[in-house]
Each structure stands twice: as C-alpha cells, then as structure tokens.
C-alpha cells in the first residue's frame, strides 16, 4: 500500500523527489490498479456499476421499501383516458400504461441488463478466445475454417440476424426441439452467436505473433504439447486484451438486448426490461415522459458507465495509449 502511495507522489511532485524514494518491485496488477485509480472518470464509472449490481441484487427489498411489486397493476393510477400518471410520493417514477410502478420495473430491469452483460459476454468471450487461439496457433486449414466462419458471421447484418434467431425461437415451444426458448435464453444465444467473432479475430491476431516468440519455441523444443502451450504459455499473455475487450463488449450486449426487447423478441412479459419499457413508452412519449425518461436514463448511464470503465481499463493496462 505504501508503495502505491509513493508512486502517486512521485507523479504529482515530479522527479525532484525521486532520490528520496526506495524502489519497490510491483506486479503488473499493482501497476494496473495504481494507474486505474488515477483515472477518476473510470473510477466513478466503476462505483456506479457496483451500485447498479447492488440495486439489481436487492431489487426486491428496495422495491418493497420505496415502491410496489414490479407486476402489480394499479388501474386507479390511470386517468379516465387510460393515460398513466406521473411521479408522485408513492410512485417515484410514475406508472406505466397498465398502472405498474415504473420505479420498481426500472430496478428489476437492471437485473435483466446485468444478467445479459455477464452471461452473454462471458460466453462469447470464452468461445471467441478458444477459437481465436486455436486458429492462430495451428494456422493452416484450421485457421482457414475458423476465419471464414468469422467472416461469414460478420457479413450478416447483426441486428437482423439476432432478430431472426430471436423471433424464430420466440413462438410456442421455441426451436431446436425446445432447447432455445423465448426469453432471456434466446437473447443470450443470439448475442453470443454474433459477438464471439470480434474477440475471436483479435485473439487470433495476437496469437499469430505470440507463437513466434522465443519462449513458445522453447516450450515447443522442451516437448510441451500444443494444448499445454496454448493454455499455459499463450493464454496468460492474452489476459490484457481479453479484459479490455470484455469491458468494451458488455455495453454493446446491453444495448443489443435492449434493441431486441424493444423490437418485441427479447425479454418476455411481464418481466421488466429497459428495452421493452422504451418500446411501450414510445407511442405515448408526449403524455407520459416519465415512462421513457427513467428506463432511458438507466440504460444510458449503464452503457456509459461500462464504456468509461472499459476505456479506463484499457488505458491502465496499456500505457502506450494513455493520453
């Protein structure tokens, strides 16, 4: 801890004090943390995300303390034209078009967004990293097959593809004999199918240069098997790009889920999702601003926070790009 503080001072006060400081060995992660903490914007983004995670985990207790159950309907909160009423002391964010508490639904919507953020990102990164490493390490026909698969997937119009997959599997008992069912699962599958390709390509490029490095040659000369080389020697050197890419792909996935739910093929009712709320709010935006404003702001802030966090992580891991 003292070492970290000293480095901060070093940077603040300049080289003049350099002589007074004892030089300490630091791990790359300590260096990362030092640099990251210095990025106030990224740190604020991280704080927001921690808060969001807490809100999602404790959505139930928070809703019952400050609002109402997310699916309870209060038709007496609609006026005689069926128009929802706005924020009040018992409905902090107003109600939606069937009289449900927008506050509670925004809280529960955070659960959906974070589930997508974690599960879909983890799956697509795992698939992308494994296939990318395999392609880059073995080259030859393996690389050709995987690279062409990536090219073909990338050639698809992303949103239309997701829309197709999601809507084909949203009817009745789903598709692939019920394996892919309407709702969260379908959305995750749709996102994963699209998103593994980006990281797959990046990792492949990294591996192509890594595999020529001396330490890999040494391992190979020592008789290590390909699997050992890939996972023991190459993978640890890819941690930085994987972490950076993951934090940058999370907001994309959240937006993609919102887009799918907005188009009606994502999260199924009555479960709340920000995208679905925005879709329902659009036709009545001029009479019920609160219905799009709050889920919209939640979506905006969340995506912004993940983007800023991603930038901060990248800067901290890769000082060459620091501004």
């Amino acid at each position: 801890m003292s070492a970290i503080r000293e480095e901060e001072e070093l940077h603040r006060e300049g080289a003049a004090d350099f002589v007074q400081i004892e030089i300490l060995g630091r791990t790359p992660w300590q260096l990362f943390w030092v640099r990251f903490k210095r990025d106030r914007v990224a740190f604020a983004a991280l704080a927001f995300i921690v808060l969001l995670v807490l809100v999602a985990i404790f959505a139930g207790p928070i809703a019952s303390a400050f609002g109402h159950p997310p699916n309870a309907q209060f038709p007496n909160k609609l006026d005689s034209f069926g128009t929802p009423t706005g924020p009040s002391s018992s409905f902090l964010f107003g109600v939606d078009q069937v009289g449900r508490d927008v506050f509670s639904r925004v809280l529960y919507g955070a659960q959906v967004s974070l589930e997508i953020a974690l599960i879909a990102t983890a799956l697509s990164v795992t698939i992308g990293v494994v296939l990318g490493m395999v392609a880059g390490y073995f080259r030859g026909w393996t690389d050709t097959v995987i690279s062409r698969l990536i090219d073909i997937t990338l050639a698809f119009p992303i949103l239309l593809l997701a829309l197709g997959i999601a809507s084909a599997c949203s009817l009745g008992n789903g598709c692939v004999s019920g394996l892919v069912k309407p709702g969260l699962g379908t959305v995750i599958v749709a996102i994963v199918i699209i998103n593994w390709t980006y990281i797959g390509r990046i990792i492949r490029g990294q591996v192509l240069s890594l595999r020529e490095k001396e330490f890999i040659e040494a391992a190979r000369a020592g008789g290590a098997r390909s699997r050992t080389i890939i996972f023991r020697e190459i993978l640890p050197n890819l941690v930085a790009p994987i972490v950076v890419y993951s934090t940058l792909v999370i907001p994309q996935n959240i937006l993609l889920e919102a887009a799918l739910s907005y188009l009606g093929v994502g999260i199924q009712p009555p479960r709340a999702s920000w995208g679905e709320m925005l879709a329902e709010a659009t036709p009545i935006y001029d009479t019920a601003w609160w219905y799009f404003a709050f889920p919209g702001a939640a979506l905006l802030l969340t995506v912004l926070a993940f983007n800023l966090l991603g930038d901060g992580v990248r800067d901290a891991l890769d000082p060459r790009t620091t501004t």
Binding site: Q73, P75, S80, F81, G82, L171
Partner: protein, 585 residues
C-alpha cells in the same frame, strides 16, 4: 393496428377476424356532437383521406376489409346499401326493397332502369350482371370471403368455393330488370345480406376474360356504377391505384344523380396510405388531410383533442356493431368447467381492460355480445344495458369473493385455483398486449398462474386461436364486428358448434352446446324479424351466461375531420368516413 382487417363475416374465410384494434363500424344511429348533416353540402373540391395501411382488393367480389368498403360503396352499387344515418338497408341498385314470398324461400328484387357502367363498358346494367357478380364470388379466382355463409342458401349454390364460375340455378333473371332468388330454406338474414358488395353488378362480357386463371385480375380493370370510379385509362386499366401508396377516385361520368341518394359533393377523392397514426392525426388537425381512414386517432391524441374546445367538434364517434371478448377454451381443462369460466367472468377487471384502449371514450363496458347500436333489432331483446350476469359492485373491476364462490362450486375448496399453469396467446403490441397483461393480473388474484405468449396479431389468429389443436386456454385479444345489423351475423360464427373448423376457426371458445346450437339453427330460418330478434336475444343471454367468452367492450369508432370538412359522416359499418356524403369548403 386498429381496424386493419375489419369487416367481419360469418364466413370462416381467411380474413374473417377482427384485427388488433378493429374499431368497426357504426350505425351512425349514435353520431355524436355533430352539426354535420347529410345534405346541403357544397359541390366540388378534393377530399384527402389519410390511412395507415392499404385496402385488400379493389374487386367488389373479393373485397372483405372494412376500410376497403369505404371505396367499394362509393364506386359500386350493390342491390341494397346503408345510408350513413341508418342501420336498415335501403335500395341502391334495386328500385325498391326486395319482396319475400313462398314462406321466405323466394326473394324477388327489381333493379333500376338506366343505370350504366362507367367507361369503357358504358352499357346499361341488367339483372344478369348481378347474377354473374354473385356466381363469380364462388370461384376461387375471386375468392369471396362470405359467399358460402350468406349466399350458400341459394338453391344450386356450391357448398364450397370452387375452381370455376358456377351457374347457380337458384338465381333467375326473368327479365332485364328482375332477379329472383330461390332459396333451399328460409333465411332470416338473406335480405340484409343483399347489401354486401358481392351483389354489385359485374359485366360478364367485359370481366370474363379477367376472371380466367388462378386469380382474377378484374380488380385492375374494374368498372364502376357508383358516383365515383377509380381513375382508369381508355382501355379500362386502373391507373389511380398504387398499392400501399394511394388510391384516386374521380367522378363516374355515367352516374346519374337522379337514380341515387348519394350527394357525392367532391369532384375528386384521394386516399393516401402509409401514415403513422400519430402523424396522420396531426396532419388532419393542421388541415393537410381531411379525415382518418383505417386507423383511429391514438388515445393520447383523442384525449388532447377532446379537451381542446376548438378541436373537439372535429371528432365524431360511431358505435360499432360488435364487441371485443376474452375467449376461454371450453374443450380443455380448466375451462371445460362452467364454474371455472364463471369465476373468470367475475374476476376480470373489465374497467382496467377498457382503460388499455382509452377508457370510456373508447366505448361502453360490454355486458353481453349484441352491441347497443343494434337497438331494437336484438340488443333490447338481449336485455339491453340491464343484462349483466357477472355484475360486480365496483364498476366492473372484478370481485374476488364472487369468483371464489364459483371456484368452490367447481371443486377448488380453498376458493383459489391450484391446478397447472394456463396459457394465453396475446398480441405483442399495445393496446392488445396491455389488455392481456390486465387479464393475467386479474386471474392471478384467484390463484391462476398465466403464461403469456406474445405474437403478432395475425399469427395469434392464424397459428393459435384459430387452430383448435394449437389453441391456448385463453385468447384475450379476439373480437367480432358483424357484417350487418342482424344478430345472427354477430353470434352464429363465434358460438355455433357446427362452425368449429380445424383452421381459420372463429369459434375461438370452441363452444359446442347442443341446446344452443339447436336454438340457433331454428332462429336462422325465422323470417319474421320481431320473432327472430327475440330468439337471438335469448341466445345471446344463454351464451353470455355460459361464460364461454367474456365480452368486455362495445367500442366506438372515432373519425377526425379537418376544419375544411363542412359535412362528414361515417359509413354505416366500419367507422370509415363515407366520402360520398363529405363536402369541403
């Protein structure tokens, strides 16, 4: 989505269903707030109608969509038609009302002399043109949606749509101006059905060449008998219709105003299509359009218009001849038990359901099926506003106590349903999706766990609710608008057990009660209208009490006119503006 597919028929044809928001038609017996009168308009000018979607077919033999009828009735003259202020049919092509003889089995109609087809045909209309028009409706190339249901009763009529134009022996044309229908049995609604566009004359000598093949192209070459015609060229090819974009009507030079009660003030009518309802409503308010075509102004705009004293007068409401209801699948558990259905009828928050469509401005809470604008032709006989077997004390917001009492009768000792999860297939867009959310929420109060499968409105009908083997427990977004003001057209298709079909089924409850089926079969042949309406009124009461389906709204259909419009009124059915009665400054 309102009124996307709308004029509904008895026929179990592909289009026979109410769309997500079919507003439907109005008998204009209840045109409100209107200084608009039917006559004394100003000649000349152009009327612009704004629409969201397109018509289904220009061909009067194929047209079956409510919005299309707004064009069909001003370009074609069926034997009978409705004046915008009446629910009783009036002679149009006919010279007088049909005479019924032989115990209801013979119907004779005389047609007017001197009515001519528009260019390029130009000749006088004869009774043979009406006969051909009806016959070609039974040919799959034309594919009429209601021919079997209303005209299948004619002797020699095919029981199903076939692959050629049949010669129907029961339609006789003893002279150029007389047409006689011989029916195989008496039909209480045959005369009313003569106002369907299928009876509008089609010249065989001109049309036969277009009727050949798999699909008739007469619609692209059709000739008119009404005051207007779709713009065409010298060869008769339609030039005024760009599907999905616009339809241009111009005056029919061969129309003689002395033979018609339509004032036909405007010189030209343009139907512009492809509008967003909100945008179109704003354009009408700013004078860029003159009336809304196939959509109602969205609820939020209705609210702002009705609360604006200068705009309020531009809005008219017409009641629709039909109702929206929640259909319960009576063929499988748990709704094969009458008491479980009745519990649903008591618990549904019909008030909240109505709020999903705009609240009281959208219509009255329905307490049975035959809607108020039927008046003394069925509504009063069904008990009028007084008949409400599932009345609750709280403004129709549902009653847990009464519902639980029914569930106890059904064998659920706690008064809560504790059987397996049930399924509803609902619209995936508002307002239907919201209505379904209210239904699910209401049922939850008495223990039901309702799984909602949201799909497109058309898929809801064609893949789920209209296909008995895929039918869910609940269809919350169905509704029906009758083709004309005869209760049979309102109830028979939806609730007669003989009408259950494996596909395109409109008896969504799959209701099959032998006693009620027999009462319907009897009422269908009753030609004394007073007795007939009495019988159907009783049938309505029995169906409603069985809770096979729970009606929840009798809708109004709103039409917004621009300030240029000095006279305007809605078509009898459909809530579309009747452009032959509109005039502009």
């Amino acid at each position: 989505m309102k009124r996307r597919i709308a004029v509904l028929g008895l026929a179990a044809a592909a289009l026979a269903f109410v769309a997500a928001g079919c507003g439907g038609g109005g008998s204009s017996s209840g045109v409100q707030g209107s200084s608009h009168t039917l006559t004394k308009g100003k000649k000349g000018g152009t009327i612009t109608i704004l629409s969201e979607g397109d018509i289904d077919h220009l061909d009067p033999g194929a047209a079956y969509y409510q919005f299309t009828y707004a064009i069909t009735y001003v370009t074609q003259r069926p034997l009978l038609a409705y004046k915008p202020d009446s629910i009783q049919p009036t002679p149009d092509l006919a010279a007088s009302m049909p005479t019924v003889s032989n115990g209801g089995k013979t119907v004779t109609v005389h047609i007017q002399h001197g009515i001519k087809f528009s260019p390029p045909v130009n000749r006088e209309v004869t009774s043979a043109d009406v006969k051909y028009a009806i016959e070609r409706g039974f040919d799959a190339a034309v594919g009429n949606g209601y021919a079997s249901a209303y005209f299948g009763v004619i002797q020699g009529a095919p029981t199903k749509i076939g692959n050629s134009v049949p010669n129907i022996s029961g339609i006789a044309t003893p002279d150029k101006y007389t047409i006689v229908f011989h029916l195989s049995k008496a039909s209480g609604i045959f005369v009313a059905a003569l106002q369907e566009p299928l009876t509008a004359p089609v010249p065989k000598d001109y049309a036969a060449k277009y009727d050949k093949g798999k699909s008739s192209s007469y619609g692209d070459h059709e000739v008119a008998t009404g005051p207007y015609m779709v713009q065409n060229n010298a060869a008769g090819k339609i030039t005024g219709y760009s599907p999905g974009k616009q339809i241009v009507l111009v005056r029919n030079p061969n129309w003689n105003p002395k033979t018609s009660w339509r004032p036909a003030y405007a010189d030209k009518i343009v139907f512009k299509e492809g509008f967003d309802p909100t945008v179109a409503t704003k354009q009408i308010l700013s004078g860029q359009g003159d009336a809304n075509g196939d959509f109602p102004p969205p609820a939020a705009q209705l609210k702002s218009i009705t609360s604006n004293s200068s705009e309020k007068g531009q809005l008219e409401f017409t009641p629709t001849p039909g109702s929206r209801f929640v259909a319960l699948n009576t063929q499988k558990a748990p709704f094969n038990n009458k008491y479980v259905r009745m519990a649903v009828a008591f618990i549904l928050d019909r008030n909240a359901m109505r709020l999903t469509r705009g609240g009281p401005i959208d219509g009255k809470i329905a307490t049975h099926f035959i809607s108020p604008d039927f008046g003394k032709s069925g509504f009063d006989q069904a008990g009028g506003f007084g008949f409400d077997p599932f009345k609750t004390a709280n403004n129709d917001s549902g009653d847990v106590g009464k519902a639980e009492a029914m569930l106890k009768k059904a064998g659920f000792k706690s008064g809560k349903y504790n059987g397996p999860q049930i399924t509803q297939v609902a619209d995936n867009t508002s307002p239907g999706s919201n209505t379904a959310a209210v239904v699910a929420n209401s049922l939850q109060k008495i223990g039901f766990n309702v799984k909602t499968i949201p799909v497109q409105h058309s898929a809801m009908y064609t893949r789920f609710c209209g296909v008995p083997k895929n039918a869910p427990n609940i269809c919350p977004n169905v509704g029906w608008i009758s083709d004309f003001h005869e209760p049979q057209a309102d109830l028979d298709a939806n609730f007669n057990g003989k009408n259950i079909l494996p596909a395109n089924n409109v008896n969504w409850s799959q209701f099959n009660d032998p006693k009620i089926n027999a009462l319907m079969t009897k009422a269908e042949t009753e030609i004394n209208s007073e007795k007939r309406w009495q019988e159907w009124g009783q049938i309505d009461k029995l169906i409603t009490s069985s809770a096979a389906a729970i009606p929840w709204i009798w809708e109004n259909s709103p039409t917004l006119y621009s300030t240029r419009v000095t006279h305007g009124t809605e078509l009898w059915n459909g809530g579309e503006p009747d452009v032959s009665f509109m005039s502009v400054k």
